[in-house]
């Protein structure tokens, strides 16, 4: 099987894209071309970064402008997107769809057109490769939080998408699990787009986008963007900004 | 498509979970199983069609052998027992409750409470009493006498269904799919 490697032909391109949710403009006039291998999107709670992730993934469509992934509209070309984009959601319990480990892992492969038996064989092989053959057939409810997180990542990796969108990938995990996960991410050939509010997660990426109130506040290498972001967060921490009502 | 499917599945799971909760005893000592409240909420929150489908999916899992009815009951036996009529009536009750919710412009509490009375008592009792009459070989009026024992508890439940629907509407504007103008496909 061809290993999925990011290149500029599969770039994510936003042209004047905007999103309005329940009457509020969550994202405004986004024009971006994302083709680097490691990209970070940073912002505060409510800055619109989750909406941006869902927009790029085609889970929501823009009200204005357009989004293209490898030249296709991700909200329309759902089948084609399976090979282009994978998403690791923040909460495993929102991502795991099936009661058992192998059903969960096989689902994406079957959706991509593999037969049930081929998908099951591939899953068995994958679990054996990771020394987890005994996980076959067990209930996902018996897995720990870290194990469920691992399961979600493998379900995405098995589909071998060229880009993986990561939504706060380290939230709620203990330090050993975080380190192990970071090592796994570093070894992946795919393009990774990480969404986070934690600057520490993004050291060493190729490009950082700072999102503020639905707009790009800064865009550049991490050395340039992250210190400014941290200084601003410390300044905001000194104010009682939480008293303001968002809407 | 996906949203309809997941709403139906999650509410079927919710009905099951409410059956696992130990029954709540009201101050008067009337036992209330949360499960039938779940059936009503399927209608009043999801609307007629999706609400009825959620209840059907739940009953399907019961028939397949999962002990999801309150008290850990389940399997095929419950569908030939004396309460079978109530089970058959559940999806229709949810449908009617949802229909009342969608077709009236009453405020959420009154619409949901009326829906629960018409669907969860009126319609459900027609099915339940017919079922009891059939299995217990009694006339409809004799079976109705048996059914009357549950009426006070069910009236309280209708009020609770109204209060819960109102609480959901207040906590999350737009959460009531039964009240959205254009439900997503």
């Amino acid at each position: 099987m061809i290993r999925p490697v990011a290149s500029s032909s599969d770039a994510i391109v936003l042209t004047g894209a905007g999103v309005t949710l329940t009457g509020r403009r969550v994202l405004q006039d986004m024009s971006l071309t994302l083709s680097e291998r490691r990209i970070g999107i940073i912002g505060r709670n409510g800055s619109g970064k989750s909406t941006l992730l869902r927009l790029m993934a085609g889970l929501i469509a823009p009200d204005r402008g357009q989004v293209r992934v490898a030249g296709l509209d991700p909200a329309q070309a759902r089948k084609e997107m399976l090979a282009e984009l994978g998403i690791l959601f923040q909460n495993p319990d929102h991502q795991i769809l099936f009661p058992t480990v192998d059903e969960e892992l096989a689902f994406g492969l079957i959706q991509m057109g593999q037969s049930r038996s081929a998908a099951q064989a591939r899953v068995a092989q994958h679990l054996a490769l990771h020394g987890r053959s005994h996980w076959q057939g067990i209930s996902v409810a018996t897995l720990s939080q870290g194990q469920r997180h691992w399961l979600c990542l493998q379900a995405v990796l098995l589909m071998e998408p060229r880009t993986i969108l990561l939504d706060e990938p380290f939230a709620g995990l203990d330090l050993p699990t975080q380190h192990r996960l970071a090592r796994t991410f570093a070894g992946l050939p795919q393009r990774l787009i990480t969404i986070t509010h934690d600057p520490a997660t993004l050291r060493g990426v190729d490009r950082v986008l700072w999102l503020e109130a639905g707009q790009i506040a800064a865009d550049g290498p991490p050395e340039a963007v992250l210190p400014r972001f941290e200084a601003e967060m410390i300044r905001l921490g000194g104010l009682d900004a939480d008293a303001d009502l968002a809407r | 498509m996906e949203r309809s499917l997941t709403h139906i599945a999650l509410f079927a799971a919710l009905i099951a979970v409410l059956g696992l909760v130990p029954r709540v005893d009201l101050a008067t000592g009337v036992p209330i199983t949360a499960q039938s409240l779940g059936i009503m909420l399927c209608g009043t929150v999801l609307g007629a069609k999706r609400g009825a489908l959620a209840v059907l999916l739940f009953l399907l899992l019961v028939a397949l052998g999962l002990p999801l009815l309150s008290g850990g009951r389940g399997g095929l036996g419950v569908f030939v027992g004396p309460s079978a009529g109530f089970l058959v009536g559940f999806p229709v009750a949810a449908f009617v409750a949802g229909w009342v919710m969608q077709r009236t412009t009453l405020p959420p509490f009154w619409a949901a409470a009326c829906g629960a009375v018409i669907g969860g008592i009126g319609v459900l009792y027609i099915f339940g009493i017919s079922g009891m009459a059939l299995v217990l070989d009694k006339s409809l009026s004799e079976a109705a006498l048996l059914g009357l024992a549950f009426l006070p508890g069910d009236l309280i439940k209708a009020v609770l269904a109204g209060l819960l629907t109102l609480a959901i509407a207040r906590a999350r504007p737009g959460a009531l799919l039964s009240r959205r103008d254009a439900p997503a496909a």
């Binding site: 089948k79 929102h94 769809l97 | 499917l5 997941t6 799971a13 999916l57 299995v135 959901i168 999350r172």
Partner: protein, 198 residues
Amino acid sequence: MLTLTSPVETALHRLRAGPKLAVLAGFTFALFWISAPLWLGFALVAVGGLYLRGGVQFFRHGVAMLRPLWPFVAVVGLWHLWTEDLAAGGVIVLRMLAAVAAANLVTMTTRLSDMIAVLERLARPLAPVLPPRRLALAIALVIRFIPVLTERMAHLAQAWRARSGRRPGWRLIAPAALAALDDAEQVANALRARGGAG
């Protein structure tokens, strides 16, 4: 997920689910046409005999599954004591017990996966309205989310108790329903991200 399938392996476990269900349907249908107490008694004894072939423990489990019927047996008994027509009462009770016991027997001796397979076969004519894959997906989602929502309810109950001396009771149902609505939105996204409900 806990099912009602008995862990005690009986000969009936090895029979195929489809024929078992067909026999059950015929048996139940016949019960409602028979009104001779002797034949109904014979039917109940026959079902009891099938339970006993699985051993005493299996038989006891079967009896325990009939327990929810006792209020109805009591009501019918009292009623017919009052109308002085005990034979008619006996017919009703025997028929009810035999029908429910036979149905429970099939449930206790058939695995969930086998039942789902029969269901998928039965639902095949509905394929234009209800694709079998979608039905299977819906069933899997319910089984998957029952423990998730149960845990959520337990957390909500703890959060309630941490801040209140009173028992939460029915008030927990509203946050539980909101949790189900939120989860439904998230899971719909996860499903769409991996190719939809197609």
